[in-house]
Symmetry: C2
Subunit: 125 residues, 2 copies
DNA sequence: CTAACCTACAACCAAATGGTTGTAGGTTGT
DNA sequence: ACAACCTACAACCATTTGGTTGTAGGTTAG
């Protein structure tokens, strides 16, 4: 279990990349609020159906949305658990800043085994 | 359209894009732990100095690191406040899922004015 | 002064992104 | 059956990204 983080790093890449586009974030908002078919989503944007389809695919690859087939349309839903798994990554970075993780070489292992860095007590000075 | 969030959207793009690369995340960890010169950072990676320089530039454009000139070297520091500003974006999305924001058109304004979504009682079912 | 060092930036290149159109197959309604 | 609709995917294109090398200028050490 030396470097279990190789997978995690790729997952982080996918997460942040998926979120790094305003159209995708907007799609994510909509499917988090409720199920939507791809074509229904596509009607909201000034681009082709295929383009929106690709954006949904990016979100799906990142695990942020899942699709369910219902007849001729596929309904996309936002995966809030996946979304929640992003926050610990940021918390880990904050923990580094806070000095709670001294050894930089260890923190990769830390991030894999300790999803919680404790402390919403984010008061600083 | 062109809500007040046009700026925010671009900033979010920059944030998430900057974080969507494992080398950049690693650089960010190091500069969050303490100041490092660009060349000192570069020695840690199997790529050219210029490549690392570009990565630092991406982080800098996103506001996640700042540089200070000290003699012939420029020292990079992680900006933890900028890092913290990412979390509310995720919270906003979670709030959408929670159903706390009904109108999708309004949430952009919400995200600008309400950084905190409160609610420690996040128990669902 | 000179050499070594650190940074900045331009030019270039392969690969990935984000968009398009087109084609094909499954589903629904009349 | 047939038309309309939804989806999936391939092919293609312009732009961006992530890397390289090279060049030039400022800074420190000898």
């Amino acid at each position: 279990m030396a470097r279990a983080s190789d997978e995690d790093e790729k997952r982080a890449d996918a997460f942040f990349h998926a979120l790094a586009d305003s159209t995708r974030r907007d799609i994510l908002r909509r499917v988090l609020a409720g199920e939507h078919s791809v074509s229904a989503l596509a009607r909201n944007y000034d681009m082709s159906f295929a383009a929106v389809q690709k954006h949904v695919a990016v979100l799906e690859r990142a695990g942020l949305v899942s699709k369910r087939r219902s007849g001729r349309e596929s309904l996309a839903t936002g995966e809030v658990e996946a979304l929640r798994s992003v926050a610990p990554m940021l918390s880990e970075l904050e923990a580094v800043w806070r000095g709670r993780i001294g050894r930089l070489d260890d923190l990769l292992v830390e991030s894999a085994t300790a999803p919680d860095v404790a402390g919403p007590t984010t008061e600083k000075e």
